[in-house]
Amino acid sequence: MPDELEQRLRDSLRAYADLVDAPQSDDLPTPSAAGTTPRPTVRRWRTAVLSAAAVAAVVSWSFWLVTSDDPGAESTASSAVGAAESGTALSEQPREGDSAAAAQDAAGSVLSVPASPSVGVAYAVDLHTHCGVLGLEIGGIWFAADPPLVEEGAHPPPGWDEPDQHGTVTLMSADEAVFTDDAGHEVRLRSTGEPVRPPFCE
């Protein structure tokens, strides 16, 4: 009976899958062109990101002018703004100083984002996952995972390394970033506008 069930499951899955026809469009997906493909029920967050980068950057910059007492943080925000406003989102290479800054800690085990990250550049990073996937500090600003990925007991979901997951983070605009890794995870991160991270779980 189990063999019969397995065969029936195989046949039904095949029949169901065969109902999916080959897509008519053969366009290659890109972050900027994805909105042109037939994906009607999903928000196209990426398509608007780069064109809105300058607007978001101005808002962030204004926020920091008004609220920040920390000249270092203000400088960081301004540098991210500069990258977005100058339209360097897709092709800019990291500045030499940034590359030098993006390095390991004294223990040689944890990578973090340089102090002045550029938009559109993937930086190697170790995302801290000990309490779940909560977010990442980028350029002195806390970017919160959207949504946070936290399993019961304050752990990351299955498939995530703990306490850190190695991958890359790419700043898509002054207030949005994406973390990806070789395991296929992809986490969207949104700026909280503050250099404050959530308290640790322990």
Binding site: P38, A100, A103, L149, G184, E186
Partner: protein, 185 residues
Amino acid sequence: MLVALSAGEVEAVDQPVAVGAEWDVALIDLYRAQRLPLLRLAVLLTDDPATAEDVVQDAFVALQRRWHAVDPAAAAGYLRTSVVNGVRTLFRRRGVARRHLHAVGPEDVPSADLAVLLTEEHREVVEALRTLPRRQREVLVLRYWSELSEAEIAEALGIARGTVKSSAARGLASLQKQLGDRRAR
């Protein structure tokens, strides 16, 4: 935990990748070969062709972004894992949105149900499959449609082989019971 930075260890940092970098021939070939199977896999996991298309496209965009660091021989597996994770992330995000926003967004409206086109025998199986916990369904789809081994499923889902085995057994037992109950009615 993020820590203070020190200079001088630049070698440890990945090469930067422009998001809008050109696709090379191998990646285009992979896209053409894998797009439909991945789309079908995503439909088997989501029941929604439009969502499936979105997840698959996101997987390819993520792969393009990481193409410099991915072994081409392992790229198909990377994409498969990316699709499964993409589906999970999507469902989780919708769950969070429902809990916090108490509203149904346009992305929550399913496409027309493809399963209505199936014969009754197959439709019964698909409907029973939909009632399973997400992990059991993922395991059964990867085992009986993708024809992956336990080890490959464990790697794709990021879970232990024992969990694959127990999820498959529970899923099959549940299907057996449901299909038996339907037949008895």
